[in-house]
């Protein structure tokens, strides 16, 4: 496979590689005044080696129509989009994580964060300053929302236009390297969200170099990426190289692939499978497992099934069905896709089997949805009570903690963190952040802003103006509340749940069932979780063998609850308090 971008060869020499199969010639313009033509090979790759480059050399490519454009595989856009690219010597970073082995998937407790709003600085260094806090909470895996260069300084990250360039306002490539290195020093894995289903509407120049788009398909976010039409071989390579780039040059432990329902590929070998093959090979060669996680609105088990079953071989997938089942039980909401949810049975299915919609008819979608997944390890399903989409795609961006009372928030946390699935928290959830997480952008093209505003108004009925800086500022975490109650208690409560999760004997048999749509019980070999979702106490006879010792009760006064009457040893008959989560552990 052909690497792309400008790689340092040592001694001031860089090799420039661009894929531009339809361009007749290409010249690299090293600012201010060196111009060198590149040679084109038969597959459409242009290359040249340039000597005597200083580390601060900036460059543009001159296309046959005399346009001067940044490198489509630029490693850094120090001044943002539509400005020269800066060369980067990746070998210069002083990594200290040579012993790092990564967190095994079965142990991951994932924390999703958005660099721009996680701290007041809005930078990678800001995140670094919070790593001791996250380590104290018990988090062992961070998932960064996308960091590929986007227009301006405020964006969720899904409007990136330079897939290889790390957002300048976040701290650029060396900022990200500092963060990854620091994570590994804190024994934290880091997953990066990458967007291979579309390119942002403003500042994209990829299509001026390569046939990156296809007209065969349409996506909700604009033109579909060309994964299967003429010249798709180079587009596929572009994105596979991108994935490898993060692992190799940034020591990223895994990737979260955004919205796979937006990747259209009819090829005999699906792009995702080809990608997974390359990541597997890279893991083999680097002697360290690297992960691919998926977001897929189609509930396709094929994505996480092994190659031998015709699968794409990814490691795990976000399970929105779990979220929707839990969210509707807690809030009673029935709008949009929540129409398809609302029963306790569905929540049980989500925990036990994965997809609730496993080729069932969906009223909201007016079609059949999803595939049967009960045969797949529960660890391959990533579950959450909040994430950037589920919070941010609400008209007012409310976090769950502002939609339900604190007792409900506590029981939701217990379910997510003690489920047999892989849990994911959304930044601020752990202390009940009250700020919204709204959709925000920093586009400069009025037409793009207008079309985006209209689109979101139509789909979501958006309230705040995404292009207004106030919307961004409102979405920033307000850490000041963390030392106030109930936030301080909530943080301690999350921390305790995470501690308990780490004591669970994994991969044990588990039984989950449901009585009167009030009480949910989860038995996991040495842990027994009882959750009463209702407003009334529920009588229950556990019928368990051995002795079980009370570990935590969310309605205990310790957690600022109304008080727990449950005894130390699990009795043969007990009353689970309204809106409470109660945990017993098997006596050793």
């Amino acid at each position: 496979m052909q690497k792309i971008g400008a790689y340092y060869l040592g001694e001031g020499r860089y090799e420039f590689t661009v894929w531009a199969p339809l361009l007749s010639d290409l010249t690299v313009h090293i600012l201010p005044d060196r111009r060198l033509p590149l040679a084109k090979n038969k597959m459409g790759y242009f290359q040249t080696v340039v000597d005597d480059l200083s580390p601060d050399s900036r460059y543009l490519y001159i296309t046959p129509d005399s346009a001067e454009l940044p490198d489509p595989a630029s490693f850094f856009q120090p001044d943002g989009i539509e400005t020269p690219s800066l060369i980067i010597d990746h070998s210069s970073f002083p990594w200290t994580d040579h012993e790092w082995e990564g967190i095994p998937q079965a142990e991951m407790i994932i924390y999703e964060l958005h660099v721009g709003t996680f701290t007041e600085e809005g930078t990678f260094d800001g995140v670094i300053s919070r790593l001791p806090y996250l380590a104290d909470l018990g988090i062992n895996t961070i998932e960064l929302m996308p960091v590929a260069q986007f227009p301006g300084t405020r964006n969720w990250g899904y409007d990136g236009v330079f897939p290889f360039a790390v957002q300048n306002s976040y701290g650029g490539p060396f900022g990200l390297k500092r963060l990854v290195n620091a994570c590994h020093e804190h024994n934290i894995s880091i997953i990066l969200d990458v967007v291979y289903n579309h390119l942002g509407p403003e500042g994209n120049c990829l299509h001026k170099f390569m046939p990156v788009f296809t007209d065969k398909y349409t996506t909700p976010w604009g033109k579909a990426i060309n994964f299967d039409d003429a010249y798709s071989f180079g587009v596929r390579n572009f994105f596979i190289q991108n994935a490898l780039y993060w692992l190799r040059e940034f020591h990223i432990d895994g990737l979260r692939l955004d919205a796979l329902h937006g990747i259209f590929d009819m090829s005999a070998k699906h792009f995702l499978r080809e990608l997974a093959e390359h990541i597997s090979l890279y893991s083999l060669h680097s002697k360290k497992k690297h992960y691919l996680f998926a977001e897929d609105d189609l509930n396709r088990t094929q994505i996480i099934e092994p190659f031998a079953q015709g699968g794409f071989g990814l490691d795990a997938t976000w399970n929105d069905d779990f979220h929707h089942a839990l969210h509707t039980i807690l809030t009673g909401e029935t709008e949009r896709y929540y129409e398809d949810f609302g029963s306790m049975d569905q929540l049980v299915t989500a925990i036990r089997e994965g997809y609730v919609y496993s080729w069932e008819y969906s009223k909201y979608r007016k079609r059949f949805q999803g595939s049967f997944s009960a045969n797949i390890s529960p660890k391959k399903f990533i579950v959450f009570a909040q994430n950037h989409d589920q919070v941010g795609n609400r008209p007012q961006g409310e976090r769950l903690s502002t939609l339900v009372d604190i007792e409900q928030a506590k029981l939701a946390a217990a379910l997510v963190l003690l489920s047999p699935n892989t849990p994911l928290l959304f930044m601020g959830e752990e202390y009940g952040e009250q700020s919204p997480f709204l959709f925000f952008v920093d586009f400069h093209d009025i037409k793009i802003i207008q079309s985006m505003l209209e689109g979101r108004k139509r789909e979501i009925g958006e309230y705040a103006n995404p292009a207004d800086e106030k919307t961004f500022l409102a979405s920033r975490l307000k850490w000041s509340s963390i030392n106030e109650e109930p936030h301080k208690m909530l943080f301690a409560y999350y921390k305790e749940l995470i501690r308990i999760r780490k004591t669970i004997a994994f991969d044990s048999t588990r039984i989950t069932h449901n009585i009167n749509n009030q009480l949910l019980t989860v038995l996991r070999y040495n842990l027994f979780l009882l959750i009463n979702f209702s407003n009334t106490p529920v009588d229950y006879r556990p019928q368990l063998e051995d002795n079980w010792i009370k570990e935590l009760d969310s309605c205990d006064t310790k957690w600022q609850g109304p008080g727990s009457p449950l005894p130390y040893y699990l009795p043969s008959q007990l009353v689970v308090q309204p809106k409470s989560a109660c945990i017993y552990m098997r006596e050793q």
Copy 2:
């Protein structure tokens, strides 16, 4: 699953079922003057039962905008498109094939024919009159080009607009039943070509009842069928019911699914898999195997892989790669997709492994193409030296027999008919028909004709006017030549090859190899085939054990060749004559 159409319940009663989820009401208008409203269920199916219908009752549906339309699942359009539908009592046909077990896939020798041009009558009854001829030739499986009602009387069949109605000019549903029954009496299986990837451009009314199209994808032939968007559940059912309809009501033995690269489906369960599940179930219940064959320009093995491997579970697929490899060696052509072929190695790969392009880079397509298929039974690949597309999509519609000399035609026949794959002949090939097979249509909409003409001119550089009846007439088989030489000899030669094929011990080890790009040898346990493609004699040392007896030599004077010097017993060293196919059989 919900049946659709107007089914006879007995005693003059018919049940009318239409899927029209977006229509508020629907009335069936039995001509001349009975109007009965249908009741709609929550999935969008309208139904009513009508009493006292005479067997010649015609009807239309009245939609809320007062349009009167034929039944989208009409069983018969006696007067063509845009006219009333006729009710059909399927139970009235006097089938005599109750003992019919069908031809096993491994034994199939397929003969593709177009009803309209196969005989002067251009009807199913015309085909029936030729069955003794086909049986005499040794054909045991007929594949009919599509017979779903199309506009006018002249069409390849891929412009059908009533998927359940049998073309009126061919003889309608009872004509087809007579043909199927007669085939079974002649010990011939019958495969029907069905088109589930688009609807014809003229006379289609399906979209006035149901959301049959989607804007998510585009096909070269117009709007893509909605297999995965909102309301796809009913579209999928429409086509699955169609497939079952042919098997159940017409005793069709299998279906050939046209152009699967035009079926776009991102669902967790692909339409083709769902279809194959239903056909499997039907085979189980009817205690008789029914087949699904594919045409797929993407060389996806997934289509013919079993469910457990994530496959769609179809039984076989047309292998264009075999054709192209053979065709280019014979003709030296390099236009269009022939650019990707031309080497003997590719022909060897096609015979031995299936796909030549098994995730290889295709210069013509400018992308990677196909999947590795060497692990798949060769019987799952249907091979041919001619078919309707490979002949008819040439600007002048020339059959192979008019492009190469007769010695080459004979060796091509030997390879197709003795390959370990499943052979398919195109009507007239067996006696070297000299007429072209051109593209022809009988549209009435000037705009549609114009756009079609332009499209084909652009893509194929078409010569004849498809809309001119002369083009159709020119494409009709000229059977008169069959009693003249060399046609009479060629027929006998094909017949002999088919006889020999039936003596091969199937599923045996086979070795195929290639020396100097002149000679191809195929060893199949008890058969040894040597083909010299070149213009010069080739020396060869077979190095086989046991005694091998000469069975056929295409250059023998018996086959009007220049004469064969090869001895009765296979010698340790022999000279294979130029442009000849020579067959030795292992002595028992």
